[in-house]
Each structure stands twice: as structure tokens, then as C-alpha cells.
Symmetry: C2
């Protein structure tokens, strides 16, 4: 790899060793860096421990010559990123009066009252000889340190602040280094998103045609939304673009209707785009997912044009009163049945005056299963302008996985319903 | 740290460098290992690259002498954990006939049809001289390799499989090593969970009393549910227990009503426990959160005893028709107002025949803000047996953060409403 095209990401904080944090920073940085031909080649998490922080940075400098750290710049006593890394560069710390003034002004402007607390003042401490990465989105400034071994950029851990600082302050520097290092080569990735098909079944479709595309690498990324297929090529920008485009076309051809999008496409956004194109208003009726389907749709900005609302029909009485499910249907087939799912979808569509209704009813577990309907049994229905189709499926996983997979499946049924590719054979 | 009490976690897969994965494995392993006095001292993520995998394992062996890897044991061509690590130990690979038979039997039992695909057969390849960690929850077996430098355990990446294999196969070995290494010392952590208070405001409450507890370390962990306070002590088991218990008591005292729980306590579960104790049935009415509040409550097993359901009232017509909000209220105060929030909470409580109703209405952004009601303006109300209280707050963050924080805030208002600690002053 050309000098300047590889970087290591070091995330700092005891909480990261516990793994509770959902790391959106890594995804953001990987995507933004790839666009300028730079790859994250290793990620390391260490605790709030000066020796561990210094060790990880020293190794990254020696191995790769470039590191971005996130976290440990905040006001509390466990934040020790700056002094630990200053020590790796043999630098002391100094208090920066300009930063201190900015912190005080910010405190006052926010109307937080009183004077800047002592604990916040240490955010104005910077290593000797460092460049400051200005924080326009929060209080902790970032730091750039560099010597003959390479460079380290210290960013805050809070995603909003990290993103702003990266884009405004760090990306221009990284791009400059990559260009200086002769990075005519790029790393180009595209991801094809599939759902409702297993990884090994996909592999059996793809393996026979893989030999046509030896100029790309292919990764299977299975998770609850489905299996993503990531194609990557490295090298000359135009060659890589051609190789990736050709491989993506092949994947789309063999995976067919299982493909719902590319990149970060969210199935909920795909479904809303279909609704927008057809001028269709949507309503949802949810039992076991308890609002997750509505949550997915309303996560998409602009969904208010198309999504009217829904009923969380957890209790059977709500299914009857708010959705008009017949008590006889519940008695004969049970709450988790294709029959109940049909009436829920049709009921919410009619009552909310929509073109499309979607329903989910299932047994998320851990309790509530039976021999006939084990935990993971889920029924979904879509009513597209009066044409109602219901299916039943057996989901694997724990309660949360069953709920997430069910939500994704309901969206997929709606996608197929709106594109005329939904099987109507009774489930 | 005593031999046998530290381990490194190495996660393998190109997708991890992209950071899209929500790592629940790390949290599980950290918790389970801490209980037997073992800490994860470093986490490293490398791609599906034999050199990088081997390098990370070699370094961990030299630095810490113990490593757990997750991922890269699956059937596809990008899974290369086993041969890469075998090479670090100077071992070749052999095909294990017993594993192959088990894979074939599993394939047949699942009714997947045909014979085991060639791509799946390589899951039966194991390093020479390795111990097998049996997988009772999936197809890929785990591997244990060891020499004079230390040990490496290779677990699958799929959480359900990883957890089962860890508990059944790996934990007994790790416990044995920790005992053999003289781990009379333990690492004991407890976390106190707060919400509706900023990190620096908490620090100003806590800093004056921190000197009473020099025998523990304290970490502030801010994220959207609030700020968690983690107290950690190392050393003799009884001493550590005493130090942590005492520090937790102090934190609970100074943080007062901002504390909603400990450890992994979910505010939704805390609220449902309060409802259960009071025999209170709950319903929700959601606008900007679109179902997330229902989703949080129904994520808790057993919630069906207490949660009846709700209305996702995204469109104003739904607020009027399904919740009984007065058109005059919407016209006079707007959909995002304490007045509308009050009528939504009261309406859903009455219509769903519940003891308690909770509502959320706000502007999640990015569009829809105004000078008077900028993006992030959120109003919530709780109606506890006819006693309705509404508040307005300004949330920071992007659309998803505003929605998550609003949901957490609504749950917190309900908690305070049920415990009689909710301020009734008009917001």
C-alpha cells in the first residue's frame, strides 16, 4: 500500500472494552477515508489507561505511520488521551489561553449559569508543539501531533463533534498526505444488499460466477437486515471503477429479487420511495414488534408525507377495537395466524384511510411458544389497495432478533407487494 | 495484573473495519470474564487478511499471553481465521471427519435439501494439534490452540453461537487458567445509571465527594440513555466488594432522583416494574418517535401483562380521530405543544382503558423547525390515573438521537410520575 493510504483507528475509553458502545464513528471514518483512497487497516480499543493508550499509539506509528484516535478528550478525570500521547512524542502539556477563553464564552452563551467549572478547564490543555483541530460543534478541541515516525490526530468521541471536526479540520490534511504519498491508487467498495435468503444459499448462486471477477474481492456480511455483499477493488481509479461496476452487475443478476438496494440503503427508505412513486399512503398494525415497524419508517426524513401512523395492537382487545379484527378470527385461528394478520392489515388500511396497510403478529419469545406455533413464529400481511396477501415464517434468534427480522421481513413483503413480485400462494 | 487475569479480544472481518457492526459480543465477553476476575485489556479489529490476523494474534500472545478471537469461521471464502492462526503456531490444517459428519447431519436435519455444499465443508478444517470447542448452536466449531507463549480461542462471530460456545466450552478453561495463575484478585465493577443530567453537572456533584473513595476508579460514560457512572475496584474479592458498595452508595446519594438503575437496567424495564407493583396498565401515543416508545416497552419480556398498545399518531388527522385531540388545540398551539401532548396522553389512556398514558410529540428534524420551535423541540406528557403533567424540552443531536433521547425522556417522566417525583410546574 502506498505511503499515506493506510491509517489505524484507536478508540479510547474503558467503556469500549466493555463493548456497550454502538460505534458509528468507525463507519463514518471508514467511508469518508475510502473516498480519498485511504483505508482503516486496524482498529484498536484501549481503556482509560495512560500506558495502554501510549502503547497502542506507539505501535500504530511504527506499523502504519498514521493514527486517528477518538475519545478521552472530555472534561472528566478519566480522560487522558492528550497527556498520554504527548508523552509518546516526548512533549509536555501547556494550557492554551485562546481555547480557555472560547470554553468560557461557550459556557456563558449556553446560559448554563455560573463560571466554567474547574473540571472543564483541562479541555484547554494541549501538548507542546501540537496543531489544534478546532471544534465548532462542541467544547473539546482536537489535536494533531507529528514527527518523523508519522502523525496522530485526536478527535472527540461524541459522533456529532467528531464528524464536524473530521470533515472541516482533518480530512484536508489526510487528503494532502495521501496525495504526497503518491496515492494514485484508490480503494473502491460497493455493497449490494439482499434479504430473505441465507448466506450459504447466496454463496451457491454466486460461487459459479465468481471466476469472472478475479479483479475484485467479495465479502459476505450477514446480519439481521439480510446478507450484504461487499465488492472491493484496489488500484487505478478507472480500472477499479470498471471492475466493481461489472461485479455488482453480476451479483444483481444472480441474486435477482433478493436485492433491495446498495450501500447504506435502508429497506424502509426503499419502501417509502416506492410509495412516493405510486402516491401511496401507508399505515401499520403491529403486535409482537410493538412499534418497531413504525420506528423504522419514521426514521427516514420526509416519511411524514407518506406514513400516516398506526396501531400498536399488543393486547387482543386492541386488535378488535382499534383494528376491527373479528373476535371469531382470534378464537378460531389465534392472534398469531395469517388470518389475524390479514384482518389487521386490512383494518388499519381502512381505518387510517390509506392505500397500503402492513401488519405483523408473532411470538417473539422467550415465552408464549407452543408445539404448533413455536417461539419465532411470525405472520405478516400487506394490503395494497384491497389486495391482501399474508405469509407465515419461522424466525431464528432471541426476542430482539425475532422482532428486528420480522420488521425487516414485513418491509420486504411490502416492497414485493408494491413492485408486483409478491408470491400470493397461501403461506 | 496476575498471569491469567488479562485477555485480549481480536475481532475479525472486513466489515468490522467499516464499523457497521453493533458489537454485542464484546459486552457479553467483558461481563462474563469480569465475573471470574479476568479483564479484556485490549480489543483489536482486523480485516479478512491472513497477515493482519496473524500479526494481531502474535502481538497479543507476546503482550498478554491470551486472546479470544471472534469471526471468520464461516463457510465463505473470506473466512480465514483458522489457517492464519494455525500458521502463527507453526501448524498445518487437517479435515476433521467427525466434524464433517456432524455438518452433514445438521444440513439434513434442517431439511435444506441436497448434500452439504462444498463451501460449507471447509468448516470441518482444523489446525493440527488443536482442541475443538464444540458448537451446539450452529455449524462452525471453535478452536483452542496453545503453546509456551499462551493460548488463543477462536469463537464464531454470530452472537448466539458465540455465547453458547463461550459458556459451555471456553469459560471453564479460562477459569482454570485464572485460578492456576494465582488470580486471588478480582476486578469488580458496578454501574449506576443516571438520566436527565449532563456529564459536567454530574461531575460537579461527584467531584467534592470523590476523595472519600480513593480505592475505586470512576468512569463517566455518556450516551443517549444518559450518563452511566462506572465504579471499579481491583484486588482482594471482599475488599473490592466493600469499596464498590460504598462508592455506589455515595453516587446514589449525590445523584439522587437522577438515578434510575444499575448495571444493564433498562429504563423501560424499570418503568414496567413500577407499573407491575401498582397494577397499572400502560398505553402510548407517539408522534415524532413513530413507535420507538412502544418498541422500548415491548422489548422487555413479559411486557404483555402491562402494556396494552398504542397509537402512532404521525399525521394530525390520526391525533384527532384515534386519540381525540381537539382540532382547536392543534390550531391554537400546534402539534408540537404541551397542550397537544396532554390531550394525546389523556386520549390514549381513556381510549385504551388504561391507568397510565404517555405521549411524545416533537420535531426530530432535519426539516420542520422554526424560530419558536427549533428542531429538537419535544413535548411529552404523562397521564397517571387522570393526573396529567406535560413538559417541553430542547434535545440536541441528529434525527435519530432526538428520537432516542425523547423516548428515554418520556420513560423517565413516567418513572417520576409513578414514583411521585415528577415536577408539575408547567414546562
Amino acid at each position: 500500500m502506498a505511503m499515506g493510504t493506510a491509517v489505524e483507528l484507536i478508540t479510547i475509553g474503558d467503556e469500549l472494552l466493555l463493548g456497550f458502545t454502538i460505534d458509528t464513528n468507525g463507519a463514518f471514518l471508514a467511508r469518508e477515508l475510502a473516498a480519498v483512497g485511504v483505508s482503516i487497516v486496524r482498529r484498536t480499543s484501549v481503556g482509560d489507561d495512560a500506558t495502554a493508550i501510549a502503547g497502542a499509539v506507539r505501535e500504530a506509528l511504527e506499523r502504519t505511520g498514521a493514527a486517528i484516535t477518538t475519545g478521552g478528550l472530555g472534561p472528566t478525570s478519566d480522560d487522558m488521551t492528550k497527556p498520554s500521547i504527548a508523552a509518546v512524542f516526548g512533549r509536555g502539556m501547556r494550557r492554551d489561553e485562546a481555547i480557555l477563553e472560547a470554553l468560557r464564552a461557550r459556557w456563558k452563551a449556553r446560559g448554563w449559569g455560573g463560571t466554567l467549572p474547574r473540571t472543564n478547564e483541562q479541555q484547554a490543555d494541549v501538548p507542546e508543539g501540537a496543531s489544534i483541530l478546532t471544534n465548532r460543534h462542541g467544547s473539546a478541541p482536537g489535536i494533531w501531533l507529528e514527527d518523523e515516525r508519522g502523525w496522530v490526530a485526536m478527535l472527540p468521541g461524541v459522533p456529532r463533534e467528531m464528524r464536524g471536526m473530521f470533515t472541516e479540520e482533518l480530512l484536508p490534511r489526510v487528503r494532502e498526505r495521501a496525495a504526497a504519498g503518491g496515492a494514485a491508487t484508490v480503494v473502491l467498495s460497493r455493497t449490494v444488499r439482499t434479504t430473505s435468503i441465507a448466506e450459504s444459499a447466496l454463496a451457491d448462486l454466486i460461487t459459479p460466477v465468481a471466476s469472472r471477477h478475479t479483479d475484485v474481492s467479495l465479502a459476505y456480511l450477514p446480519h439481521w437486515p439480510g446478507v450484504d455483499l461487499r465488492v472491493t477493488a484496489r488500484g487505478d481509479a478507472r480500472e477499479a471503477e470498471r471492475a466493481v461496476t461489472s461485479a455488482v452487475a453480476t451479483l444483481r443478476e444472480v441474486a435477482g429479487a433478493h436485492v433491495y438496494g446498495e450501500g447504506n440503503d435502508d429497506l424502509a427508505a426503499v419502501v417509502l420511495d416506492l410509495c412516493r412513486a405510486q402516491g401511496a399512503q401507508v399505515a401499520v398494525a403491529e403486535s409482537c414488534t410493538g412499534g418497531l415497524l413504525g420506528g423504522r419508517l419514521t426514521a427516514i426524513p420526509g416519511s411524514s408525507d407518506l406514513f400516516r401512523g398506526g396501531v400498536i395492537a399488543y393486547h387482543n382487545a386492541v386488535k378488535v377495537e382499534a383494528l376491527g379484527v373479528a373476535e371469531a378470527t382470534l378464537a378460531a385461528h389465534g392472534a398469531v395466524s395469517v388470518e389475524t394478520a390479514r384482518e389487521m392489515a386490512a383494518g388499519v388500511r381502512a381505518r387510517f384511510g390509506c392505500d397500503v396497510g402492513v401488519s405483523i403478529t408473532g411470538i417473539a419469545g422467550p415465552g408464549g411458544g407452543s408445539e404448533e406455533k413455536p417461539v419465532g413464529t411470525v405472520c405478516c400481511a400487506v394490503d395494497v389497495r384491497g389486495d391482501v396477501v399474508a405469509h407465515r415464517r419461522q424466525m431464528v434468534g432471541d426476542r430482539e432478533e425475532v422482532r428486528q427480522r420480522s420488521t425487516q421481513w414485513a418491509l420486504d413483503l411490502l416492497r414485493r407487494g408494491l413492485t408486483g413480485s409478491l408470491s400470493k400462494r397461501p403461506a
